[in-house]
Subunit: 321 residues, 6 copies
């Protein structure tokens, strides 16, 4: 076998798929494979979904949601810009597929779309809360801010960086893409073009993260927060989902520079065999039903608080109430 192997190996390139026939053997009590036959897989034998991590969400449904957000933009120039981009068939095909990063967060096929949809949702919520914010700018930034990742990353057979992606980065790449799209819209106001460009280049929030300008528009600053928070929460999810070999702490997250507490494990009653009774013993005894009574009671630290309403979804309530 090993002599033939050399000959076969010559024809195998990075990211090729191979078909292997082997025999399982035991060596020092660990199983190992003894190769019998190796050959390049034929295209019809390959289903990429078997090899690349993939969003569990429905990609087409997410893309429809993205388009709905784009159509909700009330400023006609921004709406036309955003729709012209996501309506481009090639951009659309890639948008449905691209991950949001190589390792940090949403590092799987469809991850970018998941990330953007989530930010769009938050953009509406934050603009609903702070009336001084323009939701159109936030949505435009959300939909376009990572569009350069369609080119910065490669995600056909493995997730990595393209060479132009390493040399330019997605901020510069999307700046070109979006600028060209703007220039195709006759009459697009010059100041608005500058604003859109500023939203893109400042969205990393700090020079050391590759933004050549700090956010100097209110919405640019807020958008940086939304993007950063969504990415970091995704990274926390990755850390907490990875096996850590520790009951109370997640695996170390290199992206965040720390471990995270497994809150439910830490808060759960110590004696799992009889949680209800033992826990009840230390629970504040309900004595008043109405919020007002509870508020009154709260002023007197000896008085217990009201019963939780049964539909309350809090994890903490489930554990301690």
């Amino acid at each position: 076998m090993w002599d033939q192997f050399e000959a076969i190996a010559k024809d195998i390139q990075r990211d090729d798929f191979v078909k292997v026939q082997a025999r399982v053997e035991l060596y020092r009590n660990k199983p190992q494979l003894a190769l019998i036959q190796v050959r390049l897989a034929k295209p019809e034998e390959i289903d990429l979904a078997d090899y690349l991590p993939h969003t569990t969400a429905d990609v087409e449904k997410m893309f429809a949601e993205l388009r709905a957000y784009a159509e909700s933009i009330s400023n006609l120039w921004l709406k036309q810009l955003v729709l012209s981009l996501i309506g481009d068939p090639e951009i659309g095909r890639c948008y449905k597929r691209a991950p949001a990063a190589k390792v940090m967060h949403h590092a799987y096929i469809g991850g970018l779309l998941e990330h953007v949809i989530s930010i769009c949702g938050m953009a509406r919520r934050v603009a609903g809360h702070y009336p001084e914010l323009d939701v159109d700018l936030l949505l435009t930034a959300a939909i376009l801010h990572d569009i350069g990742k369609l080119e910065e990353l490669c995600y056909e057979r493995a997730i990595g960086y393209t060479t132009p992606g390493q040399l330019l980065g997605h901020i510069v790449m999307e700046l070109e893409t979006v600028t060209r799209a703007i220039d195709k819209i006759p009459g697009f106001p010059a100041p608005l073009k500058t604003v859109v460009q500023h939203l893109l280049i400042s969205h990393h929030g700090q020079y050391e993260f590759g933004s050549p300008k700090l956010p100097m528009i209110r919405e640019a600053m807020v958008f940086h927060y939304l993007d950063d928070l969504d990415s970091k929460l995704a990274a926390v999810r990755v850390a907490l989902d990875a096996p850590s070999g520790d009951d109370e702490w997640s695996a170390y997250s290199a992206a965040l520079g720390r471990k995270f507490l497994k809150l439910d494990e830490f808060l759960k009653p110590a004696t799992p065999g009889a949680p209800t009774e033992s826990h009840q013993a230390v629970e504040p005894q309900p004595q008043a039903e109405t919020p007002a009574a509870a508020a009154a009671a709260a002023a007197d630290p000896a008085a217990p608080a009201a019963n939780p309403t049964p539909e309350a979804p809090s994890l903490l309530r489930k554990l301690f109430s």
Copy 2:
């Protein structure tokens, strides 16, 4: 006058109020006051509201809102804790009065309450968006995270720092206050106490801002974002409201290390004499009414987008559509 002044000045202390009689004179074309009489003001002559900047919102209404957020906490332990604190008459009195900072943001009487109410609202929105988040923890953090500022700052006659406030800071001060309140609640679960304490001490997010621990609980990390965003947006508001002597740029914000763009000034049509017509000329011509048509149109850059609906509130739409 100047001889007597020495005698009078001896009795005047920092933060005293004085009554002054003077005559306006012109000196080198600038007006100046020539003192005639100076004396300490009598208490009945003083209305503090005349001297300290004050929230324009209704404090009692905001405090009722705060209490409503507290009562919406479903975990009984946390609810009891929070209500016992804001139900304390002395804490309540101060909470209605304290600013959120000396200069950075919400630096006026009632500013802390305004800041906290705003974060509570955002806490609900963000927990509605990310289902993994526990809204009870976020609300608890929001209501208690700056309670140490009631003691860190003084705000009777001027806004400043107390000496204990400078030596300990509000994080350490509220840690003591909240810990004592927890210890008065019989049976409060020890791990939940640790979680609350962690929320408080980590809320500045980074060591260099005085947090002795980085957020290591998901809600602690998110809460830091909510607090930081609300403070920074308030600082942007301050910068944009201050006179800057510049049409397009705000005053420099020391808190944020930059100026901010006056977006509406920058985007407004160049020729103010005839905005509608000249602007119409470069506006995309409406041809389709429905969103679907607009979306279709957007794919063709030559096709203009739909008319904005008249009730759309976007600043941008108002300016450019």
Copy 3:
């Protein structure tokens, strides 16, 4: 054996002690163990001192020394505070056992006590030197500054961090312990309480080391130096004691970010077989005119230098005199 092993392994938890029967075999010229039997050790078979590094000093004697330092505090409030804490049986039991850190310095059973005793001694010396310093504050800080480590670290079967220790840190933990002890002393002056709290929270000296406030009291600043110096000298000791595979340089100390010179090796005469004579040859002769006249001249420009007294303990003198 290997089949049974799986069954046995299921019952073994982290930090359990196991009894192993094995046979030494040679594999590729390196010895290895072939397991015959594995079982959980019985409590009576375990002597923890066999598994955890331990101070070589007498713990009881050190604790008596600690108490003597506490009793030497002349301010009655501080003395009562410190004695009430170290007099607590549970605190006393832990204080005799706790290490000062997991890896950095004094990372062994009894290490904390060793570290604190040493700082107390230095506190007296530095206060003897700088008359403006209050020794009571320095001793109070010395005895209490790491009392939170009793809870931050676990040190029953292995040295590590407890989960609350990771979430809060020893500064926050001891702040609670010490504050509660102060509050139990009727009439403890409020400003003195603030001073003690400031000493605790500022003792790491800088924000990035987890102090939420910089030292703003003279003794707080000095105490930070004493604590830091004692810790760093202990870390140098660890580096110099570890095998480094190098004649002149210690192992690399991650705590200090460098190697340390083995001074005695570097300074020792090159020909160890005949150090005295060969060295004498290059020693300044305190009786001759030319080189020694220079040496002699140095003491009074005219008078020659004295012979070293035979009992002088300096390493350098031993090597070169």
Copy 4:
């Protein structure tokens, strides 16, 4: 007068002394000087001590103390080196005069000597405490570490930097001076020379403070602490002595980046009219005389501590006992 002034001013150079005759006038209620006559002062009219701040200590006595420290060095090579340097008449003359810095600390004539004597005293104390330390190296470092300041600074008519001092700094300057002195001592061991040089160049402790090497010898690291502590304590003294216009806080120290608490003001009883009685009211009541009794009492937080002995010098005791 003003016409003549131009003529006179031409002859006045920086750091010249001038004799001024003037008349005090009132301008807008502030006094001002109206010049009548200006001329260069004659040498016999100038006493420099009137113009430069000066140590209050006896310089000759301090220099004798310095020599005594030098003579106490037991290693003959180091002793000869140190004595040859401070025995040099020109070095001696400057050493008695030089300040330790331009503004940071000991910024007055004789300040360097004061600083060095203080470190020598601490060197003995710290070497007495940590037996692994070589006191000879610490004393050598103490006496020589700032000898380059004799040339780096100018202090004849005003305290400032010389041009070579700015280009080279005192570390490089003293390296040359000390190296030349070593090379004049026949047979001075080469490794010991390297050690002395390392002590000099590493004494600022960090690259950013101008040390081209970090301390890699135990005594070098300790010496950096002693030097740093002595300088910082002197800077605290400067801050606390300066008028700050605040009862409880010192002036801001640019050297230390903060204010310092006026501890005695902060701790003094609130009602100065009747301090003794009102304070007694909250003092722990003495019930036991012996330390043992006090220690026993301390375990019971309700029991008060022993009376302070009357001669105890602590500031705190004076205030609160």
Copy 5:
């Protein structure tokens, strides 16, 4: 006058030119202007060159030199790109006028051209020295790297930043300009376009100076050095040319964070009255003519070195030889 002034002032905008008639008066021995008449200047009364600092070089000659550098590029794609840009009439007009910065370096009309020409010259020299470097890339980078400053800065009536310039910066602005020019050249190779874009965006060398990517191409790294060195040398020139009130030190350069030595002042012989003779006295006496003799002589420190050749231009030689 002052009443009228208000009326006139209303019509004066920032950067307007005004015509003033005034009378010089003396006030407290300082001259001041007493206004008589103020009005807006008429266009024909304004010569901008009177108000803005201007290069002393011949702008047209420099621009011809720039074009010659462009035409020397041997790669046809790059040559066509560069010529198409500087051949554009509007770009050419601005290029001849733009400063290179607002304050840092070359902050005068024509400064950018001066800066670019200088770098082109250095690019040729460095490429002549290091054969691995491609001079075409260096020249392309030199000519295009600051072309965004034509839009980032305004320099009609005063030197400042445009609002789009502040929001985007010249790197992003020139990226758009150059990319559009590339896209107009049919067949321009895609990888070469990426390389040109990388040269532009990485030329500040570090993230904190606004480069979104570090140089990852050899020529990009070298170009950053050339640009940085030319800018810094210009800043040194500014510092040394400004009056500093000090014989040996320049004014403080905020751009460089230090002062610079006036080398010639520092090195010039101390007794200016008789420099030649007094200096000769300490000069090495020439004894040998050939370099070899000088080399031989140098090995013997007693032997003097060769005469300098009379045409040698060195400042040092003039001073000391």
Copy 6:
């Protein structure tokens, strides 16, 4: 064999050469050596050049070039200084052998000489470009700036740091060497000595790289650039020459913190089988011969540029023209 091995191993020290007799065997399809005999190599069996990487340039020729640069210095003092140092036989012997670093750049026998010669060449070029620069100072700095590396590094049998080298560093070491050489030249002007010393100590350009002073002389600042650029270009060479397992990217350079693009691979036409034709297709078609025509053509993006001259050496031209 293995029993004897222990006995033999005892006599083998670090950096010894051994003679090994062994037999090649296959183990798990990888070849391995089975030792038969090991003994210390005899001196006559060792040719060091077989074991240490070595410059490919001719060392004697380079040294002659160095001397020629030294002799070209026109200032007699500097010339005498430099020649006295490189004329010293021991310095000369080491200078021909020393590497410029242990790992960063020029880490091979003769590397220092290569590095210095290269900087001398650049010094002439940069002084030719910027007339304000003194080439004598640049050449002096170039030849002397790393002379301390002769002692800082050891390079007899392996490249590493000497113990004094680690304690002092080459800047301090060469400061002593050069200062001693200056002091041997009677009448060497004191200010010029200070200037030379400043050039040496400031040549790392920043405190954190071990320069105790920032460059404050124009030539010192420029020299730092020349040294830094030459070192970094050498490090790029190392990265690009190392096998990286990647077609377009070099190995990661720890010295530079990044990978570098393999420019020629990235730019080469995609279809290597028929580069000329396929490439011609997208090449701009030559239509004009003279530069003027090309310039004219360039203004019209449709017009192709001039033919490259056949001897143009640019890599880019070769690839794309």
